[in-house]
């Protein structure tokens, strides 16, 4: 088998990104949409770490910042989800229409 280079990691990250995008666009459950966003952020992290293998450490530092952002996003998103579930008793995105005229 051939040597594993940066391109292999980039293709894996692209596949994970596409799967995460499919989840965000097609699912109705907000919890699974948030999980798909985590998948997308992980694909970005894999890209950053794969590039950092070839250049220098800065990619790893950026991936730590991305993980921090993911933690903040999950906390706030799930807080919004709990507040919404308390009001409307649903977690489906197509029933979230309080702000529509």
């Amino acid at each position: 088998m051939a040597e594993i280079g940066t391109l292999h990691y980039l293709v894996v990250a692209a596949a994970l990104f596409a799967v995460g995008t499919i989840g965000v666009v097609t699912r109705r459950n907000v919890v699974i949409i948030l999980m798909s966003i985590e998948l997308i952020l992980n694909a970005v992290n894999l890209n950053l770490v794969a590039f950092s293998r070839m250049w220098n450490l800065h990619g790893q530092v950026f991936s730590i910042f991305v993980i921090t952002d993911a933690a903040a996003e999950a906390a706030v998103g799930l807080g919004i989800l709990i507040a919404f579930f308390r009001n409307k008793e649903t977690v489906n995105v197509d029933e979230v229409d309080l702000l529509k005229w």
Binding site: L7, T26, N45
Partner: protein
């Protein structure tokens, strides 16, 4: 001593990551999705280890698989799972959504293939035992301001989550 980063491990970890990512977005029960997401995160940590980034791999396991996933499972327990079992899992525009996302992924792969010649082929020599030390040095010298801004972001996120989730403030 032969290196651990063999092609076999790369393909196995990538296959586990992508298959469990597909399971995440296709399972009807959110708990099953969360468990599959843990598998994806752990295999990505293995890929980070293969890329000689042990600190990021540790942070991935502790923070993602440990912290964020517990938060997800806790929220899944608070909402109604039985209702999600009965109703439709996908919305009406799922065919065009899948098509658009696949086109996006193909575009990425196409661009990577076209630009593969500018990717460097020889990895830089990174001493693995000093990885954590060097990441810490970079965080506290070059990236000191982003580091502090990240702490501010976490503070705002904590306050925001409490404000959202509390019944009355």
């Amino acid at each position: 001593m032969t290196p651990v980063a063999t092609p076999f491990f790369f393909y196995m970890l990538s296959a586990v990551a992508i298959l469990s990512a597909i399971l995440v977005i296709t399972r009807r029960n959110p708990v099953h999705s969360a468990l599959s997401l843990i598998f994806t995160l752990l295999s990505l940590a293995g890929l980070y280890l293969m890329l000689y980034a042990p600190f990021v791999a540790g942070v991935q396991i502790i923070l993602y698989a440990g912290g964020i996933m517990v938060l997800f499972l806790f929220v899944i327990m608070l909402i109604n799972i039985e209702r999600a079992q009965r109703e439709m899992a996908f919305n009406q525009q799922w065919p065009i959504g899948i098509l658009a996302s696949l086109v996006l992924g193909m575009l990425f792969v196409y661009v990577y293939k076209r630009g593969a010649s500018i990717l460097p082929s020889t990895p830089t020599l990174m001493p693995e035992p000093q990885n954590t030390q060097q990441v810490g040095l970079a965080l506290f010298s070059n990236y000191l301001l982003p580091f502090e801004v990240a702490s501010l972001l976490l503070l705002v996120a904590i306050v925001g989550a409490v404000v959202m989730a509390k019944k009355r403030i």
